[in-house]
Structures are given as C-alpha cells and as structure tokens.
C-alpha cells in the first residue's frame, strides 16, 4: 500500500524532477553548444585574420610609375586603404580593416578565399586603370613601389604571431615609421656618423602625441633633437581598440634608425 502510494506520489515527484533535470540538461547542452560555437567562430575569425596578415602578393608586371613619380604623390587623409595594401614587403603587410569582407568569406575554405581575394584585386585594379590619375591610391608609396601594376594572390604564406587583435596592433605599429619618415632627415655630416637613438612616445587613443621623450641618447645632441622633432611633426593614426592603454603608458619606443 505504502509502496503503491509512495510509488504514485513518487511518480509525479520523479516526473517533475526528471522534467527539470532534462530541462537543465537541454539548457546545459545549449549553453555548451553556444560556447563552443562561439569558440569555433572566434578561432575561425582569428585564422582568417592571420591568413590576411600573411597573404603575400607576387608581381605580375613591371611597375609603370617611376620611383620619382611615386614620391611626388601626396598622402590622403586617413582614407581606408584599398586592395593594393596587400603587397610583397619585408614588414608585416598592412591589410585594410574590412570587417564585412571578413564576414562574407567566413564560410569559405581557405583556397577559395585566396582565389576571391585575388579576383577582387584584379577587378579593382582594372577599374583603377581607367581613371588612373585621379583615383590612384597614394597613401602607401612604399607598397606601391613594390606592387607593380597588377596584383595576384601570392603563393608564400608567412604566419603572423599572436592573436588577430595583436596582429592589428602590430600593423598599427607598422604605420608609425611611415608617419615619421617624411620628417626624419639628416644632413650628410650626421648621417655618416652611424648614430643611434631611441625615443619613447606617449600617445592618446586618437593618435595625438602627448609627449616624446628621449629614451636612449645617441650622444649627439643634434641627432637626438632631430629624432624628437621628426616625431613631433608626424601625425599618427588612431590606436586600434583595446590597445589605447599601451599608447597612454608610453609602451612604444621608436628606434632611430633601429
């Protein structure tokens, strides 16, 4: 009797308990699924970023513009850089931030992504050719110099280090020398002395210089001053999100020349 009763009582009790247990299992599964899906997505995004970081491009034609012509181009004000950004270069290549571009490529495998990347460039290049004079992007002279006039996907892959965000920060650091170079000039009597100085810079998130501080002196006052002057004349870009603290804390030290 008591067994039957307890059984009947137990049935509803157990079924409620079972319901909640199963419900929580479902939730748990959902949560784990969501978490792991996010993780997979993160890894995927990161990989795509890394691949973008490491895509090198081969030259397929002789450069048409002379180095002199390239030098006379003016630098436009912080315009998002087009596909020509991806070029064969010693330094980590600077790839424009194109979030949408990354998005739509997400589902594709690596090979087709590369293929698309290359097609995209050729199209853009073709469009560019028609109105070369006025539409030619001039922001990155050095890269153009190496770029030739047509680009295709390169075969060499050199993986970057660290995470995608790190890569973004590394790319930002890569833009700093280019900002300074136009103002970093020495007369021959200083250039011949093989001097070396380091300047520590403190910058706000928007790229404004707070101060430039001599970190390692070359021993030559004029050399040190010229290095600091060049930093003060340069205009830096906005620091990538999440790295503003590094700029404020003065974690960037500039080597003149190394």
């Amino acid at each position: 009797m008591s067994e039957r009763l307890s059984g009947e009582h137990g049935l509803s009790f157990y079924s409620v308990q079972s319901f909640f247990v199963h419900l929580s299992l479902v939730f748990l599964a959902l949560i784990i699924g969501k978490l792991s899906w996010d993780k997979v997505q993160d890894i995927r995004n990161e990989n795509i970023q890394l691949v973008q970081n490491s895509v090198r491009v081969d030259m397929v034609a002789m450069p048409e513009l002379t180095i002199k012509e390239l030098k006379t181009y003016e630098e436009p004000v912080s315009e998002p850089a087009p596909a020509e950004e991806v070029v064969k270069k010693e330094e980590p290549p600077v790839v424009a931030d194109q979030p949408e571009f990354v998005e739509e490529k997400k589902k594709q495998d690596f090979a087709s992504m590369l293929k698309n990347l290359s097609q995209k460039k050729v199209e853009e290049k073709a469009a560019k050719k028609e109105k070369k004079k006025d539409s030619f992007d001039t922001s990155k002279i050095n890269k153009l110099v190496a770029a030739g006039n047509k680009l295709s996907a390169g075969a060499a892959l050199v993986g970057g280090e660290g995470s995608a965000a790190q890569g973004e920060y590394a790319r930002y650091l890569g833009t700093i020398p280019e900002a300074i170079k136009p103002f970093w000039k020495l007369p021959s009597y200083l250039a011949s002395q093989d001097l070396k100085a380091r300047v520590r810079i403190f910058i706000k998130e928007d790229g404004t210089l707070i101060k430039a501080q001599l970190y390692e002196s070359s021993g030559n006052e004029e050399y040190d001053q010229r290095a600091i002057d060049s930093v003060e004349k340069a205009r830096f870009g906005r620091i990538p999100q999440g790295f503003a603290a590094k700029g404020l804390a003065g974690e960037i030290v500039l080597g003149f020349p190394l």
Binding site: E64, T66, I67, A146, W184, P187, Y189, A227, E251, P257
Partner: protein, 439 residues
C-alpha cells in the same frame, strides 16, 4: 637560492610590466647641406688667376654634383670666409661647411683649402693642392674628394672615371666604334683604341689598369668573329684574350683582376666561364644549363654573380652564389618582356637593369633578394646599359633619342640611384653607349 629565484622573478615581472615595444623608424632621409667656397685671388694675375678660378669652380661643381646631398652657395652670394670666420653668421645663413681657398706662388701655384665645420665652430680639414694647368682637374677632384670625405666619411665619385664606346669616325655603312674613357663629369675624354672595327661591352678592372672589350674587326674575309681583347692602360697596347668560335663577349673582371667571367658559345650554347688572364685558359665553368646564359656581373667582393638566362623561356635575371655555382642559383626577376644587362651595385645589395616596356628600354632597379623592384627612367628616350658609380649613389646609362625617322642619337647620361637626372655627360662623340664606371 630561493631568494635569488624570487628576485629574478620579480625583476622579470617588472620588465614585463613595462612591456615596451621597439619600433624601428629606419634610416633617415637626406637633408641637403649648404656649403660655400670663398676664394681669395688677390696677388694672382694672368694664367695663374685663370687656373685658380677653374680650381675653385671644380670644387663647387663637384659638390653640386651630389644634388640633394649638397647645395653650393653661388659665387656672388658667398659671404667672406677667412681663417677665422664668424661661425654664428655662417650658421644663420644656413651654411654647414665653409671652405676658404687661398693661393700661394712658390715657383708653381699652390692652393690651400681650409674647411670650416660651422656647427662645430672649428677647422675640419686643411689641404694643400698643386694647381697647374696640366694637373688642374685631377688635383681639384682629389681636393674635392678629401673635403667630401671629411664631411660625409665616405669617398665620392670625384676621382672616378667612366669607360664607354662611341661611333665617332663612322662613315655611312662603315660603322666604327672605339673605346674611350672620361672623368665622371664627362671631361678629360681620351680615345683608347684605334682598331677601325666595332668595339663592344667594355669592362674596367678594379685597379683601373686593364680594360676588357670585345671587337668585331673589319676584315675582307667573311669570318667576322667577336673576339675578346684586353687593353693595358699603362702601355696602351691591346692583346687578344679569347677568339674561340662564336661569342667571346660580356667579359667582366673577377675580384683581384687575375681572371675574368666571360660568355662563350664555342660549345654551341652560350655559357659563362671563368678564364685566366695569364694563361687565357678556361679555369672554371660558372653556368651549366641547356638554356643560354649571358651577361655576367660580379659584385665587388666576388661572392655573387648576376647574369641573364633564357632558362624560363625568356630573358630573366638570376643570381648565383659563386662558391655554390648552379646549386645556389636563384631567379630574381619574374616580370618584364625582355630584361637585359643586370649590373650589381658595389655593395651587391641591388641590381640595375634595363627592361623592354612601352616599345623601348628603361632602367629599373631591384634588390638582390628580388624585392623592391622600382622604375627609374620614363619618357626619356630608350635607356640601356646601366652602371653604378663607385659609391653606389649614381647610375650612368646610355640613352637614345630619336631625332627623325632615320636619325637617332645616343649619349651617356647620369642619374642618381633614385632616378633623379643629373644630366648628359658625353657630347660630340657620335653615338655613345656601354658606359662602365670604375669601382
């Protein structure tokens, strides 16, 4: 021990906390330095005055040759500079180096040049030079080089020479090309050969004592082979080095000037060989490929040879590490319809070459790692045969202008390694080509 570990840990965490990233800005660009030369000609008359003025003119012109590195103050605007000038005044005029040239007659005329380092406020160099009619140019160039070296710490091009080929003396279809040599500034031109034939692709030894060249002799017989000769600059005599059947051409000196790299086609396929100048025998096979390999260029220390090869079914540039020969051969150029005459910079870090683009040749430059291809000439006629100056800052080349449908003129020009034109160097010698700068 534990303390030490703890200490090290703390230290490293401290360093970590600082987390400084060092970003290399790179080598600085060049800012032109203003230099001034003031001369005191008082007590000079007649021929002495003329030669003294020429001496100072050469100093000014030499420094002005380094356009972008130096700017020379006009004679009329040059302030008074004596043995103890007002440095502050010179500094405010933007002058960084000031020369004070005085002359003294002691049987022959001497120039005394005092170079003031304006920023340091002291004399940087004192130099005496013989100023005679016959020794004027070498003496002035030597002085200019000494001043240049004081300022920059490096040798200039002022004492270098360029050997080249001109067709002056050709009549109608009878083309005659002879070998010439001149100073870097186009002055002091001398003809070196008198073959009455066609001299081609010269090469000057590192000690400037010998010049190799190929020659097609004008003979009545039908065999017009392309043979290699060497000219002894001391005696002025030429002697045959190689007359193997086919090409004996594109020879360059190997370091030490004892042997040469030479393109030969006696086996049927053009390959580059090392030939001893003393024995005239082949002492090494540098290239070994079924495709033709021509036009060697060896860097100053002899570790690398650049050459042109048809192994990719078109003329492309390759670099060989000489000790490794074919095993260590790397293709450098991947573009261009037709690339020609790769020439190493003295330090071997880059190559200048000409390439066919838009129906003419133009000069390009590429790093010896295959990176950083840049174009140097454009809309400037057809440009071939680049050659680096001894200091690597300039490139001389042959430029051809079409005058009419039947007429064209070719001359030697010089530009900086960044394609900034310095000017035409040869004049009135007919068509001039194949410049080779002494290293």
């Amino acid at each position: 021990m534990k303390f030490l570990t703890l200490f090290i840990l703390l230290m490293s965490s401290n360093l970590m906390a600082q987390n400084l990233t060092i970003v290399a800005v790179g080598e600085a660009g060049v800012e032109a330095s203003l230099v001034a030369f003031h001369a005191n000609y008082s007590s000079l008359t007649g021929a002495d005055l003329k030669v003294a003025k020429d001496f100072v003119k050469i100093l000014r012109e030499d420094f002005a040759f380094y356009k972008g590195t130096f700017e020379v103050v006009n004679e009329s605007k040059t302030p008074e500079i004596d043995s103890s000038p007002n440095y502050e005044k010179l500094k405010s005029a933007g002058i960084t180096f000031a020369g004070n040239v005085t002359f003294r007659k002691d049987g022959v005329l001497y120039a005394n040049v005092q170079l003031h380092d304006v920023n340091a406020g002291k004399v940087a160099l004192l130099k005496d030079a013989l100023v005679t009619e016959s020794k004027l140019r070498p003496s002035a160039h030597e002085t200019a080089n000494a001043l240049f070296k004081t300022v920059t710490g490096k040798d200039s091009v002022f004492e270098s020479q360029i050997t080249f080929v001109c067709d002056k003396g050709s009549r109608g279809d009878n083309i005659v090309k002879e070998l010439y040599i001149m100073d870097f500034d186009g002055k002091n031109v001398k003809r070196l050969t008198n073959h009455g034939g066609v001299v081609m692709s010269p090469a000057i030894s590192q000690n400037r004592k010998k010049i190799l060249y190929s020659l097609i002799q004008q003979t009545r017989s039908k065999s017009r082979n392309n043979n290699l000769y060497v000219l002894d600059m001391d005696t002025g005599n030429s002697s045959l080095v190689s007359s193997r059947s086919g090409i004996n051409s594109g020879a360059v000196f190997m370091p030490g000037d004892k042997s040469i790299a030479l393109t030969l086609s006696h086996t049927g396929n053009a390959e580059i060989y090392e030939v001893s100048l003393a024995s005239k025998d082949i002492i090494g096979t540098l290239t070994k490929h079924s495709a033709p390999d021509v036009d060697p260029s060896v860097n100053v220390d002899g570790s690398k040879m650049a050459f042109l090869s048809g192994r990719a079914n078109k003329a492309e540039i390759y670099i060989m590490d000489l000790p490794g020969r074919e095993k260590n051969t790397k293709r450098i150029s991947y573009v261009g319809k037709f690339n020609a005459t790769p020439r190493f910079s003295p330090d071997g870090k880059e190559l200048a070459f000409s390439s066919w683009l838009d129906n003419r040749f133009d000069i390009f430059r590429i790093g010896s790692d295959g990176h950083n291809l840049v174009r140097l000439t454009k809309d400037f006629g057809s440009n071939e045969d680049p050659t680096y100056s001894n200091d690597g800052q300039f490139i001389a080349f042959a430029s051809q202008r079409v005058l009419s449908r039947t007429e064209a003129v070719q001359n030697v020009y010089i530009m900086t390694r960044d394609g900034e034109m310095i000017g035409q160097i040869t004049e009135g010698l007919g068509n001039c080509q194949s410049p080779r700068w002494t290293k």
